[in-house]
Amino acid sequence: MNLRAPGLLLLLATLSCGEHSDGLERLEALYPTPKPKTEEERPIDDIGTPMCNGLDGNWAVRLVQKGTIEPLGQPWDLTVTDLFLASKSQAGTEMQLRFCNQDVAILADGKRTTLGQPETPATLKSALYLHPLRVPLPGDGTFAARDVVWLWGLEGLANPLTDALPTKADYQGDARVIDQDNDSFPGVTVNVLSPSGQRYMVRRGIFTFEPGRLALSNQWLTGVLVHQLTEHALGASNTTLETAAPITPRAEGTMYQLRCVGSTYTCASLEKDHAALFKDAPR
Amino acid sequence: MKSVPVLVFVLLVSASAFAQETAPPPEKPQEAPAEKPVEKAAPKPSAQEILKKMEALNNGFADQKMEIRLSIIEGDGSRKSYDMTLLQKGDSKRLVHFTSGELKGMSTLVESRDSVHVYLPGFKKVRRVAAHNMNQSVAGSDLSSEDMAQVSWATDWNLKLDKEDDSSYWLLLTPKQPGGSYTRVVHRVAKDSFVQQETHYYNAAGEEVKRFINSDVTDFHGVKRSKLITVSDPRTKRRTEMELKDFVVNQGLKDSLFTVRELQWGK
């Protein structure tokens, strides 16, 4: 038996450990860095002292509207969330929803995109706040309503449910179109994140509030929402924004949610905290 | 830190120290020879012949096994003893096991003067022994490793018959190569049996520095050997006695016993 000297030399020549132990990776395994909290997990502002009795009281309202748009030919998921503070009218015949903010999330192929995502400028929020969305009540203590129309930049429609909305081509001289946010542009102005710019537009929302369920605690009122949204651009700071993609409603996940809050609760708090505020809402 | 080399005593116990009381010596290894008187009428042998016969008596067996007690006796009579077992194959390979004292467990293998290995139980390893260690004392005795490694005088020493008397030849040996511890060695060999009776070692100054006296010839399983070897430095009052407790020859010891493999196996 002879020593395989060439084999040994070959072995030595190919020696290499090639392993790596990373102390930071180990620390990360031992002490995981907390993931950034979701909106739902963030602490929320004080909601004051909620005092609701039936539909009486002060409510934070969220209208979650699911839909689909196809700006580039492929369907993108759209979620429009309108936030309001609400209370019954003095006469008790309607629930008045005062607009606080609108949050729009667009998912392209499952990923969030800012392409075409609008934001509501403060001037528009103020303007919409002054003209509450009025939801008539059945009068029997329940909450339900059909074909509630909510107009942006429009007034005086003869048949609010069915009239065609003005377009860029024909809005000139149309008295129904108003500068609701007083910014010298027709209709209302929304900011678009990408491509960045402003769109001047009119908008109609038609909502049907299916009968709501009032929680035993009287802290929640929730129900199915049926919606139809129509937007027409009247102009834009960037011509690419002048085309508003049609929104196809989806029933799944479309709902309304009301949470009883104190009288001191503000739009600013709701705007910031709505995800967490409504995370425990009954389904 | 542990002492590193302190235990590297090389014990090369030479069978020549225990001169055999049998005659005539065989030319080749053989069974234990029977005692036989020397014929007086034989022609006077040469120095080379005397030495050859003496060494044949010492080493002329296929193998040997000795149980030895090494005792160091101080001038005041105090004594300390160590036991060891020596195995020898032919006239060169030896394996020595210390079986008592602070060196117990240590084993030494001598394959040649250039190949000496020692097993150190404290370190559980076999270590090669460098030649410079050969002048170390063996367990503080009067024996050095160099003394005891000496097997065949014929190879490295010049030889002449210095004198003779009625009972003995006196062989004078001088080293062929300078540098050793001794400049002159004298053997006294019995005329009738060619048994090595005494050996005297001299340094460069001409002083006798060591003396071996063989005595108490005893029959060990049919082979006669000196039971007692007294080693002394005439300049001191102390002495070392090597007592042969047992001695057997031709036990069929295998060559494989005298290997490093054996030295470290099962330790």
Partner: protein, 496 residues
């Protein structure tokens, strides 16, 4: 395994058929060992006091059981009594184990079979302590067993481990040995090791400093800066907790060592290969948690948790021993190991509550290969004077981490008197890089055959304070307190 089973079977059969007293050879030692600390500044804090540090008695038995000529079972067992009372309550005084604590240690327990199934093959299996390499003690190619450094006086000791081995003797001049060690066992360390992570406090208990982690000095400055604005007396640093990040006991974590040993007239040399882990740990990560004390809001409790690991390595080694006839027969030995390590990145974090205040990482062990080596000469000048000198590149525990591989000179002189009844040994190690050192003068008296009385001292020299508080490698090798305290000792030993 089947060969081990065969050997065990043969062994059992031998026991059954023969008179066991013929098969067993016993030897051993009785040792008593008393040590007294002779410095007062190298302990956990200055002024710890002079005291007995060891007061133990060992009974050591070595048994070789040979049921057949080619089969042996080897047993090395140690019964150790520590000599210090551990009872700290009245009920504990009824417990002999507390009042007089002891342990039983099994250093070796293995079976070896020679020449089976081939004449040129020996096999062995069980609990073993192997030593490979030509040099004395400072073996750089020796990886099969980790070192047992619990006792700084006994650097030669190994942590026993279970292994399977073969020795092949294909030619008289060649021996090939291979061992497989299924499970990794780390080196044992002296109790003082924890001081490597020790916090320096002044006599009022106020923080003076803490050891620099293996980071870039600039990173360490940043880290220490976190505490600079805090009153050092308000920081309650608890004793650092150092945890071991041990390998899994999978097949991939087992170790293999192979050597080919060549033997010629006055030259022996060996080629070595090892794949496994380094037996001494290197720093892996650390985390500091600082929180306002619940007991005293003016104080900050700081908890420091570190992890160390045993880096994976491959080693190519060479050793030799040579007797130089042309140079007065001087003995020359040498060993060189080229170590191919895994890369280790040290990570550190500091938290206040759940808030991460600081995070840093730095390469502690680069993946580039490095060398450890030993070269030694020894010579017997006279019957009474023996000298051994060695140069070391890399002490036992040194790895190419941020502390680095250092250079050492080792010298031992042994002088014998009174016909070897009295041995004076002067031994010392000098770190050539930082000049720290350890000296070990010892007197051995062989009172009777097999009876030795030893007296000596083990003295550390060098600065206990790092030359740069921000530099991991600024601690002196033997000066740092983690090396242990200097002591004097008295031993008695009976070998039987």
């Amino acid at each position: 395994m089947s060969r081990t089973a065969l050997a065990l079977g043969l062994f059992a059969a031998g026991l059954a058929r023969a008179d066991w007293t013929d098969m067993i050879s016993l030897s051993g030692r009785l040792e008593s060992d008393i040590r007294f600390d002779i410095d007062d500044y190298r302990g956990e804090k200055p002024g710890d006091g002079f005291r007995f540090s060891i007061n133990r008695n060992d009974a050591i038995v070595h048994a070789e059981i040979k049921p057949f000529d080619n089969v042996v079972g080897v047993l090395d067992a140690r019964l150790r009594f520590y000599g210090f009372n551990e009872a700290n309550s009245l009920p504990a005084l009824a417990d002999r184990n507390k009042v007089d604590p002891f342990s039983v240690q099994l250093d070796q327990a293995y079976v070896a079979v020679k020449g089976v199934p081939f004449s040129w093959l020996d096999i062995k299996g069980g609990r073993m302590q192997l030593t490979w390499g030509s040099a004395d003690i400072f073996n750089q190619v020796d990886f099969a067993n980790s070192r047992d450094f619990y006792d700084p006086m006994d650097y030669a000791r190994k942590v026993p481990n279970e292994m399977l081995g073969v020795d092949l003797y294909p030619a008289p001049w060649l021996t090939i040995s291979a061992v497989w060690i299924p499970v990794f066992k780390p080196a044992m360390l002296p109790p003082s090791t924890s001081l490597a992570f020790g916090i320096d406090r002044d006599t009022n208990g106020c923080l003076q400093g803490f050891p620099a982690p293996p980071l870039e000095p600039s990173q360490t400055r940043e880290l220490m800066g976190l505490f600079s604005s805090v009153d050092p007396c308000s920081l309650n640093f608890s004793t650092p907790e150092v945890r071991l990040f041990m390998p899994q006991n999978g097949i991939a974590d087992s170790q293999v060592a192979v050597k080919a040993q060549f033997s010629f007239d006055n030259l022996e040399f060996g080629l070595h290969y090892y794949r496994g882990r380094f037996g001494f740990p290197v720093a892996y990560n650390a985390v500091a948690h600082a929180n306002v004390s619940t007991d005293d809001p003016t104080k900050v409790d700081v908890r420091y948790i570190a992890e160390v690991l045993y880096p994976r390595i491959q080693v190519a080694g060479f050793d030799f021993s040579y007797s130089a006839e042309w140079l007065a027969d001087i003995g020359i030995v040498g060993e060189i190991a080229v170590i191919f390590p895994e890369e280790v990145t040290f990570g550190l974090r500091a938290y206040q509550g759940n808030t991460r205040l600081y995070e840093a990482s730095a390469t502690n062990v680069a993946s580039t290969p490095f060398v450890k080596a030993t070269v030694g000469l020894d010579y017997t000048f006279t019957k009474w004077l023996y000298v051994n000198v060695m140069y070391l590149r890399g002490f036992f525990d040194e790895f190419n981490d941020r502390y680095g591989v250092h250079n050492y000179a080792v010298a031992t002189a042994e002088l014998k008197f009174l016909n070897d009844a009295l041995l004076v040994r002067l031994a010392g190690i000098l770190n050539i890089d930082d000049l720290s050192n350890v000296a070990n003068p010892q007197l051995t008296w062989v009172a009777a055959p097999g009876v030795e009385v030893l007296a000596g001292a083990f003295i550390f020299g060098g600065s206990t304070v790092p030359t740069d508080p921000f530099e991991y490698a600024a601690r002196s090798k033997f000066g740092q307190r983690a090396a242990g305290r200097s002591f004097a000792y008295l031993k008695m030993r009976l070998t039987f």
